[in-house]
């Protein structure tokens, strides 16, 4: 290598400058610091039961954020995930009623199919009919809500089968590992493969980074765009199914406003809303950071209104940190 090309200047990790380092790992450092501070004030925050509870909450909210990561990487946005979550949760609850006499798997599949159908609807109108993602998914938000109310008539659906309730409230490994966490781990494993090891992930980045270059390279850009909304819809549905099972009934308010949290988790993780730049493990950090922050502040007895303000600043701070590296 040419002598001139050898890196000079300070580096902390590999060839990173301090700025790049903080932009990349700032959220992770924040997460660790947060843990540290809360557990010093209240040592029983670190009780295994409490930690598992945090992970369970993180798993349900995190599913939306993982799906959202794919969408945002292409430069899109999905405002309908909360509504899809509610709608799919309601449909699976409907079929999980004891009076229906269906096995749990049928209820789950129906929920997932509802999410897939709504996701596909988003994908088609955005990729093929050229509706801007913001507007298209805003429309679907209303559609999904409406479909949900049509089924439930705005009433909760109670008395679900125990088998179905196990998906949200059950645990395996001698009752130590809640099922939602297991589902999240499986989903994450698949998504990590997709993003980092398979062609699909590469194409998602390429479409978000430069649509024209991707098209000229022979990538079916429309299919890629369509597919990310399907992923987002399916994962939102999964979150809805788990929530119905966890609260042991279909509730109409399920998923309300969850899209905002999901987007916040993704951007805290360093994924750019412009598309083409971001990381899935960053989203995992974002999921944990927001969830730990919420539980931690609850744990410390901080007033909910202050919590909102603190969370707002955390989102802005994380994105600001990331922006440092952009010039």
């Amino acid at each position: 290598m040419d002598e001139k090309l050898k890196p000079r200047g300070v580096s902390i990790v590999g060839s990173m400058t301090p700025k790049q380092f903080f932009a990349t790992y700032g959220s992770l450092i924040g997460l660790i610091a947060l843990f540290f501070v809360i557990s010093i004030i209240k040592p029983n925050f670190l009780d295994i039961g409490n930690l598992i509870n945090i992970l369970r909450i993180a798993s349900i909210n995190g599913l939306l954020a993982v799906g959202m990561t794919f969408v945002i990487l292409t430069g899109g946005i999905d405002l309908s995930v909360g509504a899809i979550m509610g709608c799919a949760g309601m449909y699976s609850a409907y079929f999980a009623q004891q009076s229906m006499g269906q096995p749990a798997i049928v209820a789950v599949l129906i929920g997932v199919v509802v999410g897939l159908a709504l996701g596909l609807f988003n994908g088609v109108i955005i990729a093929y009919l050229k509706v801007p993602p913001f507007v298209g998914t805003l429309g679907s938000l209303g559609i999904a809500k409406g479909i949900m109310f049509l089924l439930s008539n705005a009433k909760p659906i109670p008395s679900l089968t125990p088998e179905f309730k196990f998906i949200g409230g059950g645990s395996i490994f001698g009752g130590n590992l809640p099922v939602p966490i297991v589902i999240m781990i499986i989903v994450l494993a698949i998504c990590f493969l997709l993003v980092y090891k398979m062609r699909y992930g590469r194409y998602v980045y390429a479409v978000g980074g430069n649509m024209n270059a991707a098209k000229i390279s022979g990538i079916n850009t429309k299919a890629i765009i369509c597919s990310v909304y399907v992923i987002s819809g399916v994962l939102a549905a999964l979150a809805g199914v788990i929530t119905s099972a966890r609260v042991t009934s279909g509730v109409t308010s399920t998923g309300d406003g969850y899209e905002v949290n999901a987007i916040a988790m993704v951007v805290i993780g360093g994924t750019s809303l412009m598309g083409g730049r971001g990381r899935l493990w960053g989203t995992v950090v974002g999921i944990l950071l927001l969830t730990v922050l919420t539980s931690g502040l609850d744990f410390l007895g901080v007033n909910t209104y202050y919590q909102l303000i603190i969370k707002g600043f955390v989102v802005i701070g994380a994105v600001m940190l990331d922006g440092l590296n952009q010039d």
């Binding site: 001139k4 590469r202 991707a214 000229i216 022979g218």
Partner: protein, 499 residues
């Protein structure tokens, strides 16, 4: 007292030193050319002056006063304007809005639209540009976009005007116009820094020439004291045997045949043949339909009528993927817009269109991928710290090599090069020509669109000339001459404002 005096300028980014203690002096009323290979530091040096980058060390004096240029706005206040190499218009805004962005005429926060249009019209008229001020930038050809960028810089009445590759996308006729403008500015005492790789332009317009190599200053001469060979030698640090190395390759059978191809408004009744081992150049003024024709060959657009025969069989590419699968590749004109995914690294860009070759059991075999990519990085001598470097941090010439490497990976049978050496230095140009020569010597064929006549004549086996969206002629190597080509270029344009 000199107009600009930059001394001891050093600058590193991404941990790489790109300027090392460079001194540069610009006198009022002169054109000072800045030359050097890709990544020599020319763009970085002028960007320090234009307030885009901040030097790590060194001082800048303007008319003897030391200044601290922290932003483009400050540079503008000090009378520095710049025409950027990479076009950066706001495509959704009109020509007039782009030119007067940030200094729109009008009072109290309101924009006086009529005056905006009128001022733009006046400006464009003085530069004899026939561009509608109310047209959106995205609807202009690349050449017109570049002229608008030039007009924008000139409209600032700067004392110091920096032009970074101002002619990379424009044709000879517009270059003449630009040079007349430059002479006029010179007479008014403006100092002009002119970055270009085109020797003929440098010797036509420059008063002084400075050469940078690997971030170091090699020397500064008056134009009369140097010749092309000396400059090339000082830029590359070695003798270049030839500017246009032409490898003699036996010409084989016809591989591609185009018959009476037409697409309304884009090109009309085009026929030609392409043989194995051949480099076929397409020349023509901007707007002559060259790129549009190639888009149809590659399946981006679809012809209304006519036939394309590939290896004797008629083909209908519905999308670029079909063309790639059949052995076509397309090195695009605008590497930023269509060639590269800027936020991705070299490796991911190079392997993008050939990724299916590196998949085992659904997963990408990273070792296989990086090995092959590294082979291409070495073969094309792409200057980088590693193939994990982001392409946006590479110089223009190295970015172009990444695009070429990407397509080479597919081992295509026909490569279409659209302005393959736009904005690239002589050393890298010769390397690209050699890559083309080696490629056709393996029994493949190349179609090359170019606006640089010496390039077409130096590299091609045959030249097809387009004029006003129609084919106006075809020349064999022994028929090549500037006059013949220009005549054909204007064949269908007489009475349409041609000279």
């Amino acid at each position: 007292m000199s107009l600009v005096e930059m001394s001891g300028i050093s600058k590193s980014y991404f941990g790489v030193e790109v300027l090392h203690e460079v001194n540069f002096t610009l006198e009022a009323g002169t054109v000072h050319a800045l030359m050097g290979e890709n990544g020599a530091g020319k763009s970085t040096l002028v960007k320090v002056l234009a307030g885009i980058h901040k030097a790590d060390r060194g001082t800048v004096k303007i008319e003897g006063k030391e200044v601290d240029i922290g932003s483009p706005a400050q540079a503008a206040e000090l009378g520095v304007a710049m025409v950027h190499q990479e076009l950066s218009p706001i495509y959704e805004m009109t020509v007039a809005e782009n030119i007067f962005l940030g200094r729109e005429p009008g009072a109290g926060g309101f924009v006086d639209a009529a005056q905006l249009t009128r001022q733009t019209k006046e400006l464009l008229d003085t530069l004899s540009l026939q561009i509608n001020p109310k047209e959106k930038m995205k609807n202009l050809r690349v050449a017109d976009q570049q002229m608008v960028e030039i007009a924008k810089a000139i409209s600032r009445d700067a004392r110091i005007l920096i032009m970074d590759e101002p002619t990379s996308a424009i044709t000879d006729r517009e270059i003449d116009r630009l040079f007349a403008i430059i002479e006029d500015l010179k007479a008014r005492g403006t100092g002009i820094i002119y970055i270009s790789h085109k020797m003929d332009e440098i010797f036509r317009i420059a008063d002084k020439i400075s050469v940078l190599r690997d971030g170091n200053e090699v020397g500064t001469w008056d134009k009369g004291d140097v010749n092309i060979d000396m400059l090339i030698k000082s830029m590359v640090g070695r003798e270049l045997e030839m500017q246009y190395p032409k490898i003699s390759v036996p010409i084989g059978e016809v591989v591609l045949e185009v018959e009476n191809l037409s697409l309304a408004g884009q090109y009309e009744d085009i026929s030609f043949q392409l043989r194995r081992g051949e480099i076929l150049a397409f020349v023509g003024l901007v707007g002559s339909g060259r790129t549009e024709l190639m888009h149809s060959l590659f399946g981006v657009t679809h012809p209304d009528s006519g036939r394309i025969l590939y290896e004797g069989r008629e083909i209908h590419f519905k999308k670029p993927k079909d063309a790639i699968d059949s052995g076509f590749a397309y090195v695009t004109e605008d590497r930023k817009k269509e060639g590269l995914v800027m936020p991705m690294n070299i490796q991911h860009n190079v392997s993008l269109s050939a990724l299916f070759n590196y998949v085992k059991g659904g997963l990408i075999d990273a070792k296989h991928e990086s090995g092959t990519v590294q082979g291409q990085v070495d073969a094309l001598s792409i200057k980088c710290t590693s193939s994990r470097q982001l392409v946006k941090s590479l110089s223009g010439g190295n970015q172009q090599k990444v695009v070429v490497a990407k397509w080479m990976l597919n081992e295509p049978k026909i490569i279409i090069f659209d302005e393959p050496t736009r904005g690239i230095d002589v050393g890298a140009k010769a390397e690209i020509y050699k890559i083309m020569g080696d490629y056709v010597s393996r029994g493949n064929a190349v179609i090359m669109i170019t606006s640089e006549m010496p390039e077409a004549m130096g590299v091609a086996d045959r030249i097809v000339v387009l004029s006003d969206r129609k084919k106006s002629g075809e020349l064999k190597r022994d028929e090549f001459s500037q006059e013949a080509i220009v005549k054909l270029e204007f064949l269908h344009m007489m009475g349409g404002g041609a000279k």
